[in-house]
């Protein structure tokens, strides 16, 4: 916590505390619709944070993060459906498999110097391939999808992740806060500084003693592991998983858009981006419903996202940070 606030003005501290308090109290303040939107916001903020760790901190572009979320989701859901293994146990398998997938991709990419766009293509290929493979495995529900029983939603059962939206809200809020704290701690550690050096100039970093391969592998492992945990939550919240929508590239893009809009490489970018994009999508849906033409909403939504990226190419957070004067005058920029 001390680290998160390092370099922040008193005003920023007050704002962060107020935001935290509001989020904690939200289920008691808002109706079920707003709560369902907030849940999605926090999910995107969480997964965005995990993805940001790889690109924003360590400079490795993944466009296949749906793979890690999907693996986490399918692993925990299948174990629950077939063996009644509760998700608190299933999450270990989910993380292990997601990290394994991330490590394989990382190993191939970093050992054979597949960089930038080519590395991104590698991540897409793995995600799409896994989607196709899952569609052919009956044990995972095949192309028809994997469904969790929705029966006992009456009372909150945290261990089995069965319960009310309020319970899911607090789980994802905890995950998001935890990811923020973890990233903030990492960013200020030796590893975090190494990642930033690699992001800026990997050969210069290597000449200063930075072990590139190890640092990048750790970044991928942490990022894919966090995404896998997000996948467990995703499976138990939605109760149904379909291969194409889970592993598809459009899902990967959906998972990272908030961070792109909020500010890649910043701590609060993923959170801000999610708070802007998800409600924006909801408003657009409401506005365009009356028109009754297919594709109107995606069109205007895409236009809005393009406008943000065009006018604030480094994201909304750095801009908001300066606008609200959240720094305390020391350098180092928005975090």
């Amino acid at each position: 916590m001390r680290r998160i606030l390092e370099g922040a003005s008193p005003r920023a501290r007050v704002l962060l505390a107020a935001l935290g308090a509001l989020l904690l109290a939200a289920p008691f303040l808002v109706d079920s619709y707003v709560l369902s939107v907030l849940i999605i916001v926090l999910f995107f903020a969480y997964v965005g944070q995990a993805w940001n760790l790889m690109l924003g901190f360590a400079g490795q572009l993944s466009l296949g993060h749906a793979l890690f979320v999907g693996i986490g989701a399918y692993a925990s859901a299948a174990l629950f459906v077939h063996f009644h293994l509760p998700p608190w146990a299933g999450v270990f398998a989910a993380v292990a498999l997601a990290v394994l997938a991330g490590s394989v991709i990382g190993y191939l990419g970093f050992r054979f110097s597949i960089r930038g766009a080519y590395f991104a293509l590698l991540t897409i290929a793995f995600a799409e391939f896994t989607g196709i493979a899952v569609a052919h495995v009956d044990w995972l529900g095949g192309s028809g999808g994997l469904f969790l029983p929705v029966s006992n939603r009456a009372h909150d059962d945290l261990a089995n992740l069965r319960g009310s939206p309020t319970m899911f809200y607090y789980v994802i809020l905890t995950l998001t806060a935890g990811a923020l704290a973890l990233c903030s701690w990492l960013l200020n550690s030796r590893l975090g500084l190494y990642w930033k050096a690699i992001r800026e100039d990997q050969e210069a970093a290597e000449a200063l003693g930075v072990p590139l391969f190890r640092c990048k592998m750790i970044a991928v492992a942490i990022s894919s592991g966090l995404s896998g945990i997000g996948g467990v939550w995703y499976a138990f919240y939605y109760n149904n998983l379909f291969p194409e929508t889970t592993f598809g590239t459009s899902h990967s893009i959906e998972l990272i858009l908030a961070t792109v809009v909020g500010g890649v490489g910043t701590l609060f970018g993923p959170i801000l981006g999610a708070f802007v994009l998800t409600p924006l999508g909801e408003v657009m849906t409401a506005l365009t419903e009356g028109i009754g033409i297919d594709g109107v909403k995606p069109f205007f939504w895409g236009l809005a996202v393009a406008a943000i990226v065009l006018f604030r190419p480094s994201g909304l957070w750095p801009w908001l940070y300066r606008l609200l004067a959240l720094g305390n005058g020391t350098r180092g920029g928005p975090r």
């Binding site: 500084l193 992001r199 210069a204 970093a205 003693g209």
Partner: protein, 247 residues
């Protein structure tokens, strides 16, 4: 920093490197004794930077051996060679542009300490040594090119090298700045004992600093001796120094 003697001996044995049809470095052998300052001079394209890149592990020689205190360096990764005690600067500066000067230098210090606060403290010392003490929180884009060259040196020094390789760090400096830089290297060499190998076109600096001068032309060593001997060598005069200002 005072009292720490950190010097290494460097030896190249028959080192060659070819880029496509170009023999950039051919059969180069030389020794740098521990604690000495050697200069590597020669016309543009002579292969000087390529030799640095091979010592630092960025480029693998086609043949030959490179030894740091009898440790073979060929085949090791650049980060391992850095940790073995070789610090280098880049001819075209390569700062981490989104990181502050302090963070830039702290990356180097993290090669010998896990503790980020220790690294930052050491980075401050190095910045002060190079005259950048007041700009610790600036970004590299906000300082002048000569200052960025100093940043490059501070970063390399922060790794606590036993061998410091400087690639044209004095190019573009005004004479007063050159003299200050020369004084800094003299002091570092005296205080820590570090061995220094410098590539330099500024003969004023070469003459002031070097124990020995190595002249390279077309990838071959054509002279190796004291600054006086080398500047009188007719072959050197013909291919290189004849056209240079001896400062």
């Amino acid at each position: 920093m005072a009292g720490r003697r950190r010097a290494a001996r460097l030896a190249l044995r028959g080192v060659s490197k070819r880029f496509g049809g170009l023999q950039a470095v051919s059969d180069v052998s030389f020794d740098v004794a521990a604690g000495e300052i050697h200069a590597l001079i020669g016309p543009n394209g002579a292969g000087k930077t390529t030799i640095f890149n091979m010592i630092a592990g960025m480029i693998r020689p086609d043949s030959g051996q490179i030894l740091l205190d009898d440790i073979p360096l060929v085949g090791r990764r650049p980060d391992q060679i850095c940790r073995a005690g070789v610090g280098r600067t880049f001819q075209i500066v390569r700062p981490f542009s989104q990181l502050t000067l302090l963070e830039n230098v702290a990356v180097g210090a993290l090669s010998w300490t896990d503790d980020i606060d220790t690294a930052r403290a050491h980075a401050r010392e190095m910045l002060a040594l190079l005259g950048l003490g007041g700009r610790a929180e600036a970004l590299p884009g906000e300082i002048t090119l000569p200052d960025r060259k100093c940043l490059e040196v501070a970063r390399a020094l922060a790794t606590r090298p036993k061998l410091l390789m400087l690639d044209e760090v004095m190019a573009g400096l005004r004479p007063a700045e050159t003299d200050r830089m020369v004084a800094v290297f003299r002091r570092i060499n005296r205080d820590t004992g570090v061995t220094i190998l410098l590539i330099e076109h500024v003969m004023r600096a070469v003459m002031a600093l070097s124990d020995r001068v190595l002249v390279l032309n077309n990838g071959r060593v054509i002279a190796d001796g004291s600054p006086r001997e080398v500047t009188r060598d007719p072959e050197v005069l013909a291919c290189y120094l004849g056209s240079e200002d001896l400062g």
